[in-house]
Symmetry: C2
Subunit: 227 residues, 2 copies
């Protein structure tokens, strides 16, 4: 690749309560390895020189060791403590970055991210300053308001994925803003700071594993990919 | 169940061009049976007395025979010719109904519909006049407008599925309206006729098989369900 520094902030702070299990979802085994291990491997395969920053609650640090030993080769990882919200967790992760470059903020529970998509996010972020993977909506959608609902034009809707990718000199200052609940992802933080975010084409299989159904789907995609 | 008549209009008119194959997607084999056969079986299992109306282009009638021979038991099916748009296809299917009752309009390419969901749609349609299965959105969403986009509150968004279920005395007259391109599903047709549609909870696994990725997911769900 290039001399530009690359950082991945992998957010693995969720409590995984929706899985109905004690083990947080990003540590669940998928095809023999923890989900988070697959996410890390995707980044190191796409960019051998990338710096991995893992954000997770201190209570899960021992799980992180389990994840790291599942990797085919040992890698250096910066462990950072998660915060109260996603914004605070990502802010903590970004604060470990001391050089300029491109940073990918990624859900630890999206293990099916491909080299193709990572390279597309990287190239677009170099060109446009940011790259937010988005996919079209295949189904009809409605907006509900109490007991009523109305159709929305799905042609204009996009499902947003991660890695939300940025030049560090844009996103690090954006995260110095005061938190508001409108900060639901990194794109919304960037926009509140005046940055126009660039959408790039995501991938349907780049799902976030949140429910038992998602585990079924993730395993199927993993097998179809030959892993 | 009850003495109320039940009709399923199964729409299988798509050309399946997104699959990149000659065989339309609803006829592709899934775990040994055509997708459309699974859809039909779901209805006959949930309601042994249901009347099945299959809407498809006449060119596919021979495929329909293949589907029917894949069923565990022979059933009577009314074959109806598909129209220019989904609206016209569904209108043709509804025109085969000559008694009052509950009608389910279902995508033939949604083979994972469960008895639970079919019963919920039925009961809600009996109570409210209509039942449109809808599921919450798990991911961030944005609305795009040219080169720009803005976040939407996903808490208010729903993904709409089928079977869109109605009392026949409501939906048959609604389909006598003149077609407009705003008729993207049956709910929009009902609303244009002044009917307030009732949303019920859908199921995540009730996917529409449109792409090769969907085939992978559908096979995984089917195996997880023990089929």
């Amino acid at each position: 690749m290039s001399d530009i520094k690359k950082f991945a902030v992998l957010v693995a702070g969720g409590q995984g309560t929706r899985m109905g299990m004690a083990l947080p979802k990003q540590f669940l085994p998928l095809n023999g390895k923890p989900i988070l291990a697959w996410s890390i491997m995707a980044f190191t395969q796409a960019f051998p020189d990338i710096n991995i920053i893992l954000v997770l609650p201190p209570a899960y640090y021992s799980y992180a060791q389990m994840v790291l030993t599942a990797l085919p080769e040992p890698i250096d990882v910066t462990l950072v403590s998660g915060g109260e919200t996603r914004f605070h967790s990502v802010k903590n992760g970004l604060s470990a970055i001391e050089e300029e470059g491109i940073v990918f903020v990624h859900d630890g529970a999206r293990p099916l991210i491909t080299t193709d998509l990572l390279h597309r996010c990287y190239n677009d972020a170099v060109t446009y300053g940011s790259a937010i993977p988005a996919i079209p909506v295949a189904e009809s959608m409605r907006i509900v308001d109490g007991d009523h609902s109305k159709p929305v034009n799905r042609d204009h809707m996009r499902v947003i994925q991660t890695p939300q990718t940025f030049k560090t000199e844009l996103i690090l200052p954006a995260f110095q803003q005061e938190y508001t609940p409108a900060f639901t992802d990194e794109a919304t933080v960037a926009e509140a700071y005046g940055i126009t975010v660039h959408l790039c084409l995501g991938e349907k299989q780049n799902i976030k594993v949140t429910t038992p159904e998602d585990m079924v789907v993730a395993e199927a995609f993993m097998k179809a990919a030959g892993n």
